[in-house]
């Protein structure tokens, strides 16, 4: 179980020597990802979802709040003591091209973490070789033909599988997949997604999926939770299918309305929500963060709404005027 409470992160931009501008990447985020579970962070780029993922994977520090991994709070620990905890959480990067060292063969890439593991557990060298072949087989690659290769000799899809295999060498508890398929060929994407799903089912690895594509998030785990993040705040959180089918926050609704409709297979939702302006026009830091773009803004929006459950809605949301709207496209066959 990995939980976080009140995570705050502020970046200081060093654009100007005199006046360093502060960017509030995360404004007090809570999350909880159970063992073997799935969670997805969705939102526009710059909303803080990647920063949050990196904090969870131990690659980024945070200013306030607490990350707890299997009952151990991280903030009280020294970096050296934190390391074994954060190692249980492995990041799968977006770009499989830069995630593998081009000067090292796949064998070398897998060998390094495995030999560390072998040293810690007192296993033999032959175990390393066996385990390397095993993790490659787990991700659907043929060890015999892949081990001696360099990354440039593999396709993008194969590289991403190697990246996942490398993460598996340390027996992780959770994989953090940050836009893990956006740079992969379309016909191969589903294969990678299916692999992550399969690893969840077979190894009990939990998956945190960070994306702007809601449909892929759903594919990884429709039993998981969806966190919709807007400008560093979770504005809607609930079971995947609930949030997708019955979103209540206008921002979630506009995100879902923006998903292309496969005309010929689907019909568009009846009440699409289009934000009044684009994200870069919104820099108001008081009140509801979405208010300046929200077509449904009301009198109370000068205040900052908190994430909460209100009557009539199963999911948590941060909106004073929640309302269900039919925004997503539905298959024609359903009519």
């Amino acid at each position: 179980m990995i939980t976080g409470t009140g995570i705050v992160k502020t970046f200081k931009q060093r654009g100007n020597v005199l006046a360093g501008r502060e960017v509030r990447a995360l404004r007090g985020v809570d999350f909880a990802i159970p063992k073997g579970g799935a969670a997805s962070f969705i939102g526009e780029s710059g909303c803080g979802k990647t920063t949050l993922g990196r904090i969870i994977a131990g690659l980024e520090s945070y200013d306030e709040g607490e990350v707890v991994i299997d009952g151990t709070a991280m903030s009280g620990l020294k970096p050296k003591q934190r390391q074994p905890h954060f190692r249980k959480i492995q990041m799968i990067h977006q770009d499989p091209y830069s995630a593998l060292n081009p000067t090292r063969t796949i064998h070398q890439t897998l060998f390094a973490p495995l030999s560390l593991r072998a040293k810690q557990t007192g296993r033999s060298k032959s175990w390393i070789e066996e385990r390397a072949a095993e993790v490659l087989a787990l991700v659907g690659l043929d060890p015999g033909s892949v081990l001696a290769r360099y990354p440039h000799q593999l396709s993008g899809g194969m590289r991403q599988r190697v990246v996942i295999a490398r993460a598996l060498t340390v027996d992780p508890e959770m994989l953090v997949a940050d836009e893990a398929v956006s740079m992969i060929d379309v016909s191969l994407r589903l294969g990678i997604l299916a692999l992550l799903k399969d690893l969840r089912e077979r190894l009990g690895v939990s998956v945190l999926f960070i994306t702007h594509d809601v449909a892929t998030a759903r594919y990884i785990g429709d039993d998981g939770e969806l966190y919709v993040i807007y400008r560093g705040q979770v504005i809607e959180r609930g079971a995947v299918d609930t949030v997708i089918a019955d979103p209540v926050h206008p921002y979630t609704q506009s995100l879902l309305s923006a998903i292309p409709v496969l005309h010929g297979l689907e019909r568009p939702g009846e009440e699409p929500v289009v934000p009044l302006s684009s994200l870069d026009a919104a820099d108001d830091d008081t009140g509801c963060l979405f208010a300046s773009r929200c077509p449904f803004r009301g009198d109370r929006c000068g205040e900052r709404p908190l994430l909460q459950v209100t009557e009539g809605f199963p999911q948590e949301h941060a909106c004073f005027y929640p309302e269900r709207r039919s925004v997503i496209a539905r298959p024609l066959s359903e009519v």
């Binding site: 759903r218 496969l262 684009s278």
Partner: protein, 328 residues
């Protein structure tokens, strides 16, 4: 705006790239007609030849590539494939507007957008530069931007979506009526993408354009295109009206692509991954069907004979299995 939207007829186009292993075709024997005033979408994965095909429209395939055979007839211009030098340079920009892949990064970081606009105008011998700027501001305003501010900005001061709109403006400002958009929404967010696609549709209608959209994302094509063409391994495997192709795909590759898209509702296990992986220039089969390695309907004939593009009503499909079924 007296000019009409031009039609484009690509006939038997083959583009080859010189490699150590000899000249390999990136686009092979592709025939495609863009009706005047239509939006056509070309869908394909990396290495499918879609970008090369788009570049051929401008006769802008860079060495080591070259157009080896075929014609690219554009109304009011002629066969662009035979153009050279000055003739070609003038056609680009003035008649054909091109929004490059990752237009987000294709602006000069050292010059303001306005300066780049003036450079463009001068290089095409535009006399009325004030008129050009006015036109540019109008276009940017049309796309929901503050024209004056954008023209005064450098690339780094604009967001991804804004840069993309600047790219579209630069493609249209010389009054081109044939517009090619290469991956117009890659690396953009959903909301920005929806916004850009809406703009593409509206500008297309208002200015009377013929538009070609190149993308790997079927969703993008589904949103904007009237006609959809699917490329694989340098071949055009299926084309037809968008709704028909999406609703009832014929070619096994099109079918596979569509069923590999995860959906928002329904059973998630309905989504099926395509086996195998797309070919590269070097691994594309020399003879026979390019898709056979990944095809569920593979027959003996597929190994030796490249299926011809056969018209079935408004649909054109290049697949032996489909042809056999239609004639059975």
């Amino acid at each position: 705006m007296a000019e009409q939207a031009p039609g484009v007829r690509i006939g038997g186009l083959t583009v080859v790239y010189k490699t150590p292993a000899g000249e390999l075709p990136a686009v092979r024997d592709v025939s495609l007609t863009l009706e005047p005033g239509s939006i056509t979408g070309i869908v394909g994965e990396s290495g499918s030849g879609k970008s090369t095909l788009a570049l051929s429209l401008l006769n802008a395939v860079q060495p080591p590539g070259r157009i080896a055979a075929g014609t690219v007839e554009i109304d009011g211009l002629g066969d662009v494939a035979t153009f050279t030098g000055e003739e070609l340079r003038k056609a680009r920009g003035k008649h054909i507007g091109y929004v490059f892949q990752a237009a987000q990064n294709s602006l000069n970081p050292l010059k303001t957008v306005g300066k780049q606009l003036l450079d463009l105008g001068r290089s095409h011998g535009v006399e009325d530069l004030h008129g050009l700027v006015r036109e540019a501001k109008e276009l940017l305003g049309r796309m929901g931007l503050d024209g004056a501010r954008v023209l005064d900005s450098h690339q780094h001061e604009l967001s991804g979506g804004m840069r993309q709109r600047v790219g579209i403006m630069l493609a249209l400002v010389l009054n081109a009526h044939l517009v090619v958009l290469d991956e117009p929404t890659t690396a953009l967010d959903m909301i920005t993408q929806a916004n850009i696609l809406k703009i593409v549709r509206e500008v297309h209608a208002e200015r009377g354009l013929t538009t070609l959209v190149i993308t790997h994302d079927i969703g993008v094509v589904a949103e904007v295109a009237d006609r959809l063409a699917v490329m694989y391994g340098g071949r055009l495997v299926e084309q037809g009206p968008t709704r028909e192709v999406l609703g009832r795909p014929r070619h096994p590759y099109t079918k596979g692509l569509i069923s590999a898209i995860p959906r928002l509702v329904g059973d998630i296990d309905e989504a099926r991954a395509l086996p195998g992986r797309p070919p590269t220039l070097a691994t594309v089969p020399k003879e026979g069907c390019v898709f056979r390695e990944r095809c569920a309907l593979r027959m003996d004939v597929c190994d030796t004979v490249d299926p011809e593009a056969v018209a079935h009503g408004p649909r054109i499909v290049a697949c032996h299995a489909v042809t056999v079924k239609e004639h059975a």
